[in-house]
Symmetry: D3
Subunit: 248 residues, 6 copies
């Protein structure tokens, strides 16, 4: 089995870290291949950036889907998730959606704890898109600032542990999701210092992708997620244009 | 006052028709300028296509916003609406959102009547995004098929009038929105043959854009809709890349 | 075009101030006529008072509707709005509804900031009636007291500016509505001192009324908003009784 | 104990029938006094009429509240209910609200079955006002027409029994409310011919009023339902004006 | 008339106290019989305990239903309520549900005030089960600890009065429910010291049971609450097994 | 790794079939152990039966949890799920919840298709408990009857395939869940004959249990799902009583 992890950010080291962390949930014999965007931004933080990334994600999948049994969109916020599910025939998971659905099996309410206030509007959209408003106890950010997304999980480690305690006490969160690719790997490190289960989104998304591939679900041939009919397309990336025009 | 109507489809004749129809709601002295996508698809119908169009819409606005007092995204479904509102400083309206909010002042429930089943999933998303689920009585499509989007409003005119009657009787819609740019202008033609008020989306969107410009609201300097900070961007269209990098 | 502004309070000076402020959104050639209640209370603040005012509003419209292209109910809380829309054939807008729907095009969430705690229950009802609970970030009131509704917007100006800052930071409001006729005109004065767009309700309501008239929507002939059949009525105001009995 | 039943319609015979039917739930020693509107309409059916009736209801209570331990607003749709609860200090129940809350103890979903399509918009408002949308399986009306509200329950008896069967089978209603004062007494007559429990609204409303009086709850002295402060009032009915001005 | 009060806890003195308090709402001639669990726990506080109690409640009703006109499940949280309503043919009320529905006639929002944090998750479930989320202003607990459930209402009396004040001011509760059998009787004692109406759950549940019996509603013969068909059952309590197997 | 599959029905052959089917999603080296209830009913179909089964499930887990890395409650409807999650320290999944959450990654709406009308009320409760009402397109049952739960999936195979087509066309379901243990294995057999992805609940529940164990989430030490404190318990099954009393 082969799972494709698509990072719509241009940071290759983040792709590597996500692949490394998520490998812990893989069965032996499952290959996890990470690819990194060559256009776009080093780290998506706003919804305008996510709109651009949604389109890039489709380009990246169109170019690399060959041979994949499942695809993971590796940016918390899931740019292009619904579009990709509609357009392509393999199962697709996203970090935000997979983390939230996984959290729903560990408690009744989850909170998302992340590191930057500019991310919260995008993360709220992911909650609403999943229809999970009633289960989300909040999206919270520490007050402290940080130097770089590459090291933020170490810089703010103490603040985040403290914030999780608060989120449990004040917002009554049963589970905490550590939102945002830059926090990948932090869950394992602090799990014993916080009072509720933690969810690492990329591990959840890769684990769910593996499960969907195992369940051997067939792609939709009717309804909202059947592949759209062929349509002329001008000026798009070659692979995406070809796929939209059914020249595959 | 100058209003920019952005059509993210590649059909220039549809742009013209929308500008012509919407001019009826403009005050003398307001200029309405239509622009048409040069990349993309002739007519967006799926959510994958809408994801691509969302990105194109941002490119088009970045290139043409200079001197605009308000912007209208002229595709029912509003690709890139929230992203554009976040990224740019002028008021932005969308056909779906403006039609639905306008309909809310004419009754308690509205139905959207359109011409193709593949559009409905996208139109449902627009309802949900606006938080208007409780006011939407349904999205309905006639069973009949048609030859071309250019002539669909004439081909299906009789079917659509009949469907509106049904929607009023069965779904208890108080108002009907004629969804989709290809139906532009139909409302005026059939208004006297149907038992409830009709909303023409592009007229609503242009009218609301004009009103927002008149209200002289200031752009947000804080919160979800404040312009995101400068960020490096690689490989995007020149104007959009420059705006994201704050080189304006 | 002629728009009728109906103030169900007995304060004629407030009617004048509203007409003056709202004129800024009118096209040249549109006439805005304000009328003031001759029965009732100087300023409606509770829901019991609003129930009485709902009935008075219908009387006032019945008496003055002749020649009006659209009607504005000029009390935030919109007494009699749904009833008036059902009973009469011209478009009717209300200050609360129009302000909230307009705010929905400027951000995802709005807060209502007003000056007296007794108003909040009524304002909450307006949110619920519009089905906009999911978009309302709260209804907030400063702690300070004031001398008179005639001068409250000057007395509390500093407090209100401060409260708007708090509402943006704490409740994450994207837009703020200044609720209550006594705050008419304040938005323009403080717009540059607050970090998010402000909505002035009477300007929104008059602007929306003008747009509805421009859209030339036909009145409903079926469903919830078709005019009720003739019915005997005893002891009501002459014009309202005549209209209910279809003696028009 | 003395319970006041306020009929905001002008039909005295309907008042009598309601008093007669509801007496079956009263304890010995409880007096039920019915009063009938002297202004207004013989039978309220639209929301415009209900807005007028809301104001009349307050007048009637203001005039007759002396000595009452609880008040019942005896029109399904509950005109003026929230206003009356705010304004007066005795417990107030309404036929729609009481019937729905009672139904909630007999099953998970209820349907309202009534006799005229024009009533349904008003009855839907009552569901929404109570926040019981999730428990309402629908509001249904037979297709047949009838001669007079005085005899409608006999004219349509067969149709209504059949409709209840349908409502149980198709809408999965666990309980059926017979909505509208003209159906008072029908529940008892057909209870053995239908497969689910029936609720007679006036019996529920009088029974709940009696229970609230028994529970000896104190009136609110703070919050949404504390009596509003004194306020000048011009041109209202003497008793209502006096109560609003605190001249009691 | 005979009402059966079923206490699924093993504390007989609490049963007695509840019977004594609730007697105040009974008509002369109504007999209220309390029974106490012989298996289980002295005081249910968690949802695991409530799951066990739900099964015990069914056993207790199966054994004692003979001759009862209505049944009250006398633990706030209502273990087994829906199951009992489905299985048995007499009306069944629960303390949480009855208190909340009664509170809905006294204001728009209610808060539940109780004495121990471990109870809140269970009480939240009761709100959700009743579909009353939109009317619940919160579930609140004082910070202070206590010695014993038998005396907690005296130990925390001052704290609870203070908390009710806060709940009214901060959460805008119109009504307060004193949740949990150990607070039975407190409402009457402190009613004059708090600014909003209080609901005593066991009085509400017994009062509502009496009303349902008075309304003479027939049991459902179709739908969700019709008695399930006979089914073999192994190893259950004799009366419950017999009832499930229709050996009655 | 060792996963415990707990069947709260008394049918051992159904346990075997579920273990056989679910094994397809297991990694090599994971052991799946099925246990069958010795008390209770052969097949739970009503909510009264589910209430009894909830208590039995806790007994079965208490007795068999030793050495388990995750637990699956193997009855669609998930009796005792929340209680078990609160009481025990290993991850617990349920067939209904796991199937619905898995379906949420394959489309926006799912329908549950099952074989007997008496099951639907219970299945609706599972939707509501998960907070997934907005994503459930309906719960549907074929009109045909059947002989035995052991063979129902063969008896009704044709009817179910046809019903799935209807559910896709009429209810717009993107995914279909085959609800109820007796349908275990059917998904694989008919997957190529239906137009949307199918979910087999026991495979989903076992797959999710395996994933939760892989994610090595720690049990909650605070909040709603922390293990309740020790409490005296009388007359319960030995293992459950001991666990509740913390004699483990």
């Amino acid at each position: 089995m082969r799972i494709l992890l698509v990072n719509p950010n241009t940071s290759a080291d983040m792709t590597e870290r996500m692949v490394a962390t998520a490998s812990a949930v893989l069965d032996p014999g499952v290959e996890l291949v990470g690819i990194t965007a060559t256009r776009g931004m080093p780290y998506i933080a706003s919804r305008a950036e996510a709109a651009v990334a949604g389109s890039l994600t489709l380009e990246m999948i169109a170019e690399n889907q060959q041979g994949a049994d499942a695809i993971v969109i590796a940016a918390y916020g899931d740019p292009g998730l619904i579009a990709a599910r509609e357009l392509f025939d393999v199962p697709v998971t996203g970090m935000a959606e997979a983390a939230m659905l996984t959290a729903c099996m560990l408690g009744q309410t989850f909170s998302v704890v992340t590191f930057s206030r500019t991310l919260t509007a995008w993360y709220e959209d992911a909650v609403r898109l999943a229809g999970l408003d009633a289960r989300c106890a909040g999206i919270r950010v520490p007050d402290a600032s940080f130097q770089s997304v590459a090291t933020v999980q170490h810089e703010l480690e103490g603040e985040l542990v403290k914030l999780i305690d608060e989120v449990v006490a004040r917002d009554k969160a049963d589970v905490v999701i550590l939102g945002g690719a830059p926090l990948t790997g932090l869950a394992e490190r602090i799990a014993d210092r916080v009072p509720v289960p933690l969810v690492d989104p990329v591990s959840a998304a890769v684990g769910q992708a593996q499960l969907l591939a195992r369940l051997k679900v067939r792609p939709a041939r009717a309804g909202r997620f059947a592949r759209p009919g062929a349509k002329p397309a001008v000026g798009l990336s070659p692979a995406l244009g070809a796929w939209i025009e059914h020249r595959d």
